[in-house]
Symmetry: C2
Subunit: 110 residues, 2 copies
Amino acid sequence: MDNYIKVFKALSDTTRLKIMWLLMNIDEKICVSEIVEVLEVYQYNVSRHLRILKDANLIEEVKEGKWVFYHLTPINTKFQDLIQKSIHSIPESEMRKEMVKCKELLALRD
Amino acid sequence: MDNYIKVFKALSDTTRLKIMWLLMNIDEKICVSEIVEVLEVYQYNVSRHLRILKDANLIEEVKEGKWVFYHLTPINTKFQDLIQKSIHSIPESEMRKEMVKCKELLALRD
DNA sequence: TAATCATATGCGTAAAATTGCATATGACAA
DNA sequence: TTGTCATATGCAATTTTACGCATATGATTA
């Protein structure tokens, strides 16, 4: 039961749920400093929250030079699938501000 | 976002997740003292956990004489639906002991 | 009405999670 | 190799959550 608890616990924090929502709704991996800017949370806290999501097997990291990008863990189980879908079902209206900021940032990437 | 957080927080405790799993998997409402017996948790703690699930809108109560029965909240939103399904997808093997005990108890009800 | 059964809650404590600050690590650029 | 940028982490303080114990509430039965 512990692994399921770990997932729900990982999702029961605003910053972490927002990170997951963004990863579900933009179809891109995203790096730590981008999350910092979009969510307006201190870098050290973003790092910590990402760790918790990773430990719950919700996200994975890819290192690229100085940067560490994060993306959703590919779906392996029915449970994972339904959890991802449940996050996806959270309406964009809950994330309007962050979504605007995120799109702006991604547009400027290159 | 707070209501979504509240749901995930409510589910991130073993006792509460087990209660939800039981409610999903038996097709019955169940009363406090039955949960106490099935999960082997003190009555006062079961009551408190039930309150948290109720406050998260996951369950509802029905009073019948001395007893208070709890059942799942009927599905209103896509999110609720997916959350319920995700709990349902937790394999019975995680709950074998509790499920046996629960079925025994329900069989003795009348 | 008193005793009893089922459930809920106030209060203090223990344990866990989150944060801020300082700083470490690791990669790249000058 | 030194400096800078991106990310991670140790530690202490704070906040939140869970628990045990005692007891309250509310309904039923004797």
